[in-house]
Symmetry: C2
DNA sequence: TGTATCATGTGAAAAAAATCACAACAGAGA
DNA sequence: TCTCTGTTGTGATTTTTTTCACATGATACA
């Protein structure tokens, strides 16, 4: 089981979306179809698929259902991943409501916030809890992942606290760079950068 | 003016966040500081910075203010980019409220939706407009960019319509792959993939 | 049954990205 | 003033990623 690069993860996830929504009902799909839709080289698609251990069929392509399941397995979609959201603002709310998360095993347990008007209420069926309780809850149910959707000014402070509480992975939706110990992984969901990359595509 | 790769754009944007929030007040910053915070090689940081045409100072590093401005210029943060959001659900709402967009020149003009309960209302200070009016508005004010935040089931249909209306760039927040003509660019904001990449970091 | 076709699977080559290594030299401090 | 240090800037190397090219062989169809 070789490690697989982020680029491959990204593409496999897109193939999976494609199989899930675009190819509904089709029994087979060719690498060239996937490649055309995503503007990739077809041999690259085949190599990605090979990493999932799926074999295609000459003159037919890949079995959609099998390929979809193999991607799910390879990327661990069916393993349950419990997550807390810190910051019950509109982005936190949007993520709680992101319906597809459950198909990927991403299970949001609760939201945390400091705002007394929000604490105790429910958003998207999940309870909003006082940030003070984070420490307690993390140790009790051993949560490793948090989604950070607080205002940028508060990001580092909240991060320090979360790290102290034992968090291991921080999915950072704030436009800030976080100072964390080496044992903690920050993944930057750099929304603005995405936009710039999109615009760049016009030149490239 | 050489074209610059998406990876570089991504990193430069992060450097910019860092300069904006983390380094407030400091006059200088060394490539090694940036590298440490972002877990990169310092020579890579220097090469990225060189692409912006900024020169550093021996034994001191880069002038924070100058570097920040140069990144803004290189990535075109100050050029105004007008955008429509299609889909006034919770994700659309979150993006309208994303305060930092304006610092990057991203200007959301309006939201579009089919829901009669939403049409005519305001979200985050922007008007929600009937999707039917998209064609008209696009041709009148020549909008090129849309943010797509509709439910995945509706994504392709709305995309077809938007393309027909003359849209050039689609920032796709839905977990779907879109069929578009070669003249249209889709940028996939593959939220789930980000999470998987984050988890992957534990192994890598 | 035979043949032509078309999609796979994969080595080899090319391109892109990152790392290494170090000369240069400005600045700090004795 | 002199020396030492720390940081830049960059050429060379390595690693990673992508593309190219094509042999293989299953399938459709006559």
């Amino acid at each position: 089981m070789t490690a697989i690069s982020n680029k491959v993860i990204n593409r496999l996830t897109l193939y999976h979306c494609l199989l899930k929504y675009t190819c509904k009902g089709k029994p087979f799909i060719a690498s060239s179809e996937i490649a055309d839709l995503l503007d990739l080289d077809d041999s690259l698609v085949r190599k990605d698929i090979a990493l999932c251990g799926v074999l295609g069929h000459k003159k037919q392509g890949y079995v959609v259902d099998e390929l979809k399941k193999s991607i799910e397995q390879k990327l661990g979609f069916s393993e349950r991943k419990e997550v807390f959201i810190i910051g019950a603002g509109s982005l936190g709310t949007a993520l709680v409501n992101y319906a597809d998360f459950k198909d990927y095993g991403i299970d949001i347990l609760a939201l945390f916030d400091n705002d007394p008007n929000k604490i105790g209420k429910e958003i998207g069926g999940k309870r909003v809890v006082s940030l003070e309780k984070l420490s307690n809850l993390i140790s009790r149910i051993n949560i490793k992942n948090i989604i950070l959707t607080v205002p940028p000014q508060a990001a580092q402070e909240v991060t320090d606290y979360a790290v102290q509480c034992g968090v291991r992975f921080i999915w950072n939706f704030t436009p800030t760079v976080l100072r964390v110990p080496k044992t903690v992984t920050v993944y930057y969901e750099n929304i603005v950068s995405s936009f710039m990359q999109m615009q760049n595509a016009s030149i490239a």
